[in-house]
Point group: C2
């Protein structure tokens, strides 16, 4: 079997940490093996640490990042519940779709794509929603929103509203403090800043959310009562729910070990420095950044494609000539934006310089 | 990192094929990379071949085996639909739970655990159900049911009823002919006879089922319209739905390549021979088999625990002294049955002899 090597600088997956690959290929353990249960418990504890939460119900769900969004709404929305969704990109749009499937009365607060969430507008959208939902790091635009400010505003008004945050592209790449931000429900994906192959959705659920959860939600696979009985155990021990994806969890555990050893502050600084250099270099090439200044994610840079350039052709040439993958834009920006990720193991200056050099060659532009 | 090696002879996961492990650790590709799309298409084609189906909608779902069951009901059940479920073990019970969450009027046909599904009783349960569901290989008891006979009977009566078959523990270990059996919807898991780590649910859906699918089902993640747009593509190319678990799919592809090279007839014969030897040897040790004679799965052997033996203690000793995992019984049989799997890469005579030797030593029984 001939392997093909890629440098994955799109919006995810990114190249895994070497520790994650070693964990993935390690001898397989059974999902009820005491050794595996130890790995699972450590994984949950490390996820709590990265998120800055004490939530007992913090675990990797058995699906890709999107299943985290599904689990969030499936376990909290009752038909007729008002859910305010801050939409400033594709994943906000998706939240509206998912929440509506569970019967939510969705109040959608649209923002211009590329701009962060406006806390005042979100708050003004409805006086007493059951849930306020927003995306921390919009993978579709490269924009960071201030979840702490949103949480403080929501909490100041009422204790009845749950705050839901999409952290797919932030967890493992930024310092987070979910509990003091007032986040009740959050999820992520392994294939972005966590530096693991796709297939798991880290998930956390506060005690406040637990008290108001939906009993026997429509989706058996994501029923938190049943999942909790396996992950947390109980008086009668751990109850089998479904076979956990043991290899992916061992891989996530290994990557989290690497991140914790390096220290989340150092990892975040590594993401910041690599992203800053990339964004500087992109502008040196005479290209324009898409996301609003002051709200740009270092781990995901969105670039406006010049009018005279064929967006897809450049991506194809990066892939064929240099083995580098970058992403198209999302939605209406498919042909007019590129998305470049420097996430997890790829949050490095050499990756930034490599991409700038290859892109400069293809565009026939030198840095000014 | 010190690795722990286990011989996984429980009801799954089993030790992966070496080809599957190599595929899992291969350099990661993006989910939209043309090279990966080639791997995905080949995987779907090989799944069709193993299942004996021409269904265009045949794909690995992004979750463990149970998500296949969820997708099956989520995309076919409308509130009030009559679903007849043949229950002869834990997974039949689970089908009733899952179908009911989507609003099905469940007609449950209970069988004694350890016995195969009785086609006449299932047929007599309701004159015109929307769906008849049964488990091909009951992982909880080690029993095979005749899905071909059930399909013929269902089809002979009406063209309006869909046949749903749980193939979690059969696909990759037995010769199957889903299309001529009349199966409309089937799912499996990768961690049993397919010899891959857990995390994917192979799934197939007939054109007849497609015509009667639920539009915009409650579960966004499992919406076959959206999944199909990525897996099958369309006039506008492939639409992104969620990030496919690329490493697991590459691993499944490698295992399927191995199975197809060996030939499914030869693979099935390997399972048959290993299971036959194990079941013979277990009886030589003076132990009794649980599943009804003539309906025993070779890949999963259920054994009655002798009255004077502590079931859990024996399993613990197998694990600690020999690194061998076997399973407890399911449900009410937790303490009175052992489940021993010889699946996928473990469907070998040496594994059967190893288990018999270790079990004989622990029980202090020699073969007679």
């Amino acid at each position: 079997m001939a392997f093909i090597e890629r440098t994955l600088l799109g919006p995810g997956p990114s190249n895994p940490y070497p520790e994650a690959t070693a964990g993935l290929a390690a001898p397989l353990l059974g999902h009820l093996d005491p050794e595996f249960i130890g790995i699972l418990e450590r994984t949950c504890e490390r996820l709590r640490s990265l998120w800055g939460t004490a939530n007992p119900l913090t675990l990797p769900l058995s699906g890709t990042g999107s299943i985290g969004m599904e689990a969030a709404f499936a376990n909290t929305v009752r038909p007729g519940d008002v859910v305010v969704v801050a939409v400033n990109g594709l994943f906000g749009v998706r939240m509206c779709d998912v929440a509506a499937r569970y019967g939510a009365e969705v109040v959608r607060v649209d923002h211009e794509w590329g701009r962060p969430v406006d806390v005042e507008r979100v708050l003004a959208a409805h006086p007493s929603p059951a849930i306020v939902a927003a995306v921390h790091a919009e993978t579709s635009t490269g924009v960071r929103s201030d979840i702490g400010a949103l949480g403080a505003a929501v909490r100041a008004r009422s204790d009845r509203t749950l705050l839901l945050a999409d952290c797919v592209t932030s967890l493992g790449g930024m310092v987070m403090d979910a509990d003091s931000w007032g986040v009740d429900i959050a999820y992520s994906g392994t294939q972005k800043c966590l530096g693991v192959a796709p297939g798991l959705a880290p998930f956390t659920f506060s005690e406040r959310a637990w008290e108001r959860r939906v009993a026997a939600p429509p989706v058996w696979y994501l029923d938190l009562d049943l999942l909790g009985a396996y992950v947390r155990g109980g008086a009668g021990g751990r109850a089998y729910h479904h076979t956990a994806p043991v290899a992916l969890i061992a891989s996530l555990d290994a990557a989290l070990g690497r991140i914790c050893d390096e220290g989340i502050d150092a990892v975040a600084e590594r993401h910041r420095a690599a992203g800053a250099r990339l964004q500087e270099g992109v502008q040196e090439l005479g290209l324009e950044l898409f996301a609003a200044e002051g709200h740009r994610l270092p781990q995901l840079t969105s670039v406006r494609v010049p009018d005279d350039v064929d967006s897809a052709k450049v991506r194809e040439q990066l892939l064929s000539d240099y083995g580098i993958e970058i992403g198209a834009g999302a939605g209406a920006y498919a042909a007019s934006v590129w998305r470049i990720g420097l996430m997890g193991a790829n949050a490095r200056l050499d990756r930034a310089e490599l991409l700038l050099a290859a892109l400069g060659r293809i565009l026939g532009r030198s840095r000014v």
